[in-house]
Amino acid sequence: MTRPETRQEVRLMRNAAARRVSRRGLMKGAAAVGLTLPAADVSFLGAGTVGAAQDAPLGSALIGELEGPIVLVDAPRPATLRQAPMLDALVADGALPPVEERVPLEPLVVQPLEGIGAYGGTLRRAFTGPGDDENGNRWVSGDKLVFWDYTGTEFRPALAKSWEFSDEDRVFTIHLREGHKWSDGAPFTADDFVFWYEDIYTNPDLVPTPQSSFAINGKQGRIEKVDETTVRFVFEDPYPLFLTILGGTTFMGSGHMTNRGFHGGAYAPAHYLKQFHPKYTAQADVDTLATEANVEDWIALFRLKNQWSLNPDLPILGPWRSVEPVNTPNWVLERNPFYYEVDPEGNQLPYIDRIQMGLAENLEVLNLRAIAGEYDLQERHTDIAKLPVFLENQEQGDYSVRLDPGAYGSDATLQVNHSYDADPEVAKWLQNADFRRALSMGIDRDQLNETFWLGVGSPGSVAPDPSVPQSPGEEWRTKWSTLDVEQANRLLDEIGLTEKDDEGYRQRGDGGGRLRLEIFAISGAFVPFPRIAQSIAQQWQEIGIQLDVAELERNLGMTRMRNNEHQLFMWANDGSELIYAFPRHALPVDPAEAMMGPLIARWYVTGGEEGAAPKEEAMLEAMDLYTSAGNQNAEESNTTAQEIWKIIVDNVFSIGTVGVSPAVMGIRIVKNTMGNIPARQVNMQHARTPQSSHPATFFFRTGG
């Protein structure tokens, strides 16, 4: 261990201790704080940070180098294939065909991060109940049609070994892998796409409304079979953005296992699901099955049977399948013996036999168990406020802590309701760009970062991290987003808010007394919204703005937000790093969750028939740009996204605080027995983190 590292560690631990641990003086091992660094931890300090400035924030020392497994595109199938020992007996019995027949002729070859792993073991994790199915979905997202590299920025093959656009981007053709099989051994072919399109997607009982992700300019696409392994997505207008849509977590692109009972994913196991579909099975028989399953009708039955997390019998294509469903105290996954990924030496993946997720009754117990080292890998529900305690118990718990910063701009965004109309005076100011700029410059983001993010976040606007292709650039992280009380006061004076009361607060223009803004802050989220909002309220005293914080229970806050009752709403702008796949936190275009203006989103999706048009020219411009991107290919659409971000940031449509941090699903607790685990991985919705690190390549050094 070199000296700088040691020094850095000493400082880091001292900082941590000063921030938090001293209050918990009882913590065992507090005496040892700052002495030594376990050898295993050196790796994630990352070479780049060794020479870092002495006063760099805590985060820079803890965030390792981005790394991950490499997808070897077009690599041939290795000459000899091997399988997990747990399958040997099944093959010998004849219950399973030999591995040569289970792996496709053209498998996906993945070069693991460190090297070839060992088979076996059960990975222990925690989940919080059936609503937490994303916990497992993200681990099995190997069943997406197209996917990304480990940086989350470039496309890589997944189920589709290749694809191309033709007919001026009206036709998108994908090529499947020959010999690819479902987890029950049945062939996976173009017929599974045709079945999905003809009998699921276009069946109004199952999918009542056509999905926007499968439409361009409001015109629906369709699916055609060319041959067994070739499928065409056909559109009436050019739709080059479709590739990006497939890459995102969208109805069309999330894969079959992440369909959550809404039947998305563009394909489905026809051979299995036909028994529950009245087109292929007599209605009376389907009804009997529904009654036996204790559900209302065949639609509910079909929804139940087409969810991997609820139905262990459902054939799937991901690396693991459910053996104990998600609605039990233990959600258990077991390897899919037909999985299509292999390592370069021909070992069929995944290495790990089982994943066992235990139901945690509450988050405190979950975090305490993580500290005790009872989980092998846990990045969900781990609390950033406990980071010092996680660090302190690394040795005792035999784990290491790795931080995965997100790519979106702000964990605690002040989303401005641009369609607020209950108080015309407040609405007038909320729709004034200079007013919003002043509010933004009245926030001391460094203080927030130190207090609530322990210094590991990045202060700035709502724009995504500069490493993301859609980022408008570094300078847009800070535009209108640094503390400047003087300029903020000047702006507020200039727009006419000059009158102040004796406490120094600015007065309403209509003579109604003090100008009071209200923000909805929901308690119990990944970061403490109400406390952050309180801090901002204090900081805004400097610019003479009164902010009232309404701390609300989540469901109540969300319901009132959907009813257009909020002025400001604090929420993460997660997912906005790939704006076309998940636009709701960047622009008010999705009525399902439009904190930036529920009425505007209504107006947008109904083509102006309902809701209310945005008041500002710039907002219209940004929304037009967003709409136009559908006709652009991935590269062009990224340039458009940069333009959209520039408009959003320049007009401060919403106010960013601190982001690009590991606060949400980025505090990763990794048992030291595990191998092929990246020091740092991307933390993005569309990269289905940790799928971007190919969990199928994770393994136990000790064999479990």
């Binding site: 222990r124 109940g129 204790n294 009754e361 117990v365 305490l368 989540r554 997660d574 009525p591």
Partner: protein, 328 residues
């Protein structure tokens, strides 16, 4: 006597019906419904569903119908002996509760038995030897037990258990047994985990029981019939046990009314803190998720248990204390 019983049972049935209406109305009171709660939950974990999908869900759960239609549907199910599907869990309510019911009963009964085993002898001792040093000690401990909130005690026990004894954090099983089929080893594992929650749950009621037992017995011991018994040369042991203790037990018989619902629900807060897989946390969770069928079923179950418990304790009182008679 018989007419009294019939009257009580009819009244109990009416009370249960009233509970069902109240439960349904109260659960529906917060804004939004299960689908709203589901969407909020998804948003919090960084994903979401479209409005159309929400509408589809709402139709499937019949949440788009007026509240009295929903109540009628629920009642029809219940009268058929079907508690419906738990929306969040996508499983029949009976199964979801059933998973946890017997574990809850094991924990609760352990706590109740422990309470009585410890509290009754101490209470008797304190009454027989009032103002002795041991009585003062028990009084002090008793007030401490009453004053310390049990969830705080739970947190402390978890923390020290982890730091000094490297114990498993919360729950009723070690991780390796949580998913294992039932074996002798798993049963032993459960028995090893049981004392902590049983003691934590038991301590508050233990203190209370000691106080009640001591006060009642003190009252009884001063009564003339005890003096007479002693004067007639009855051994001290018999003079205390034969009647005074029996009479002093009356209040315990009347607590069965609320012990019974407690046995099936367990303590919500302590179970939550200790991460116990019992019915209590399930109720809280279903209320947050606005899972009408599950929350309704649990609240109704608790109500019915209270009604039955009260009936039982009245009957038990009549049996223990022959002086209590029904006025016809």
């Amino acid at each position: 006597m018989l007419s009294y019983l019939i009257r009580r049972i009819l009244l109990a049935l009416f009370t249960c019906w009233a509970i069902s209406v109240l439960a349904f109305v109260i659960i529906q009171l917060p804004p939004g419904d299960f689908v709203d709660a589901y969407i909020s939950n998804l948003s919090a974990s960084g994903s979401g569903i479209s409005l159309d999908q929400a509408q589809q869900l709402r139709a499937e759960y019949a949440l788009d119908e007026p509240i009295w239609v929903q109540y009628a549907r629920w009642m029809r199910l219940i009268l058929r002996g079907d508690l419906g599907m738990a929306m969040e869990w996508q499983r029949p309510v009976t199964e979801v509760i059933g998973d946890r019911l017997w574990l809850t009963m094991v924990v609760s009964i352990a706590a109740v038995v422990l309470t009585w085993l410890v509290a009754l002898p101490i209470g008797i001792y304190s009454a027989v030897r009032p103002y002795s040093p041991l009585d003062y000690l028990f009084t002090l401990l008793g007030f401490l037990g009453l004053a310390v909130p049990s969830f705080l005690l739970g947190l402390l026990v978890l923390y020290f258990g982890f730091v000094y004894f490297n114990a498993n954090i919360g729950g009723l099983f070690s991780p390796q047994y949580a998913d294992a089929p039932w074996t002798g080893a798993k049963l032993l594992d459960l028995l090893r985990h049981l004392p902590v929650p049983a003691v934590i749950l038991g301590i508050a009621s233990m203190a209370q029981a000691i106080r009640i037992m001591r006060a009642n017995l003190l009252d009884e011991l001063r009564k003339p019939y005890v003096v007479t018994a002693r004067a007639k040369g009855l051994s001290e042991w018999r003079a205390i046990w034969k009647y005074p203790v029996r009479v002093a037990l009356n209040p315990f018989a009347s607590t069965i009314g609320y012990t019974l619902p407690y046995v099936v629900s367990g303590s919500i807060i302590v179970s939550l803190v200790l991460g116990l897989p019992t019915v209590g946390p399930l109720l809280l969770r279903s209320l947050i998720a606005q899972d009408m069928f599950l929350a309704g079923a649990i609240v109704l179950l608790l109500g019915i248990m209270t009604v039955i418990g009260t009936l039982l304790s009245d009957l038990l009182l009549m049996w223990i204390d022959p002086r209590i008679r029904v006025d016809d």
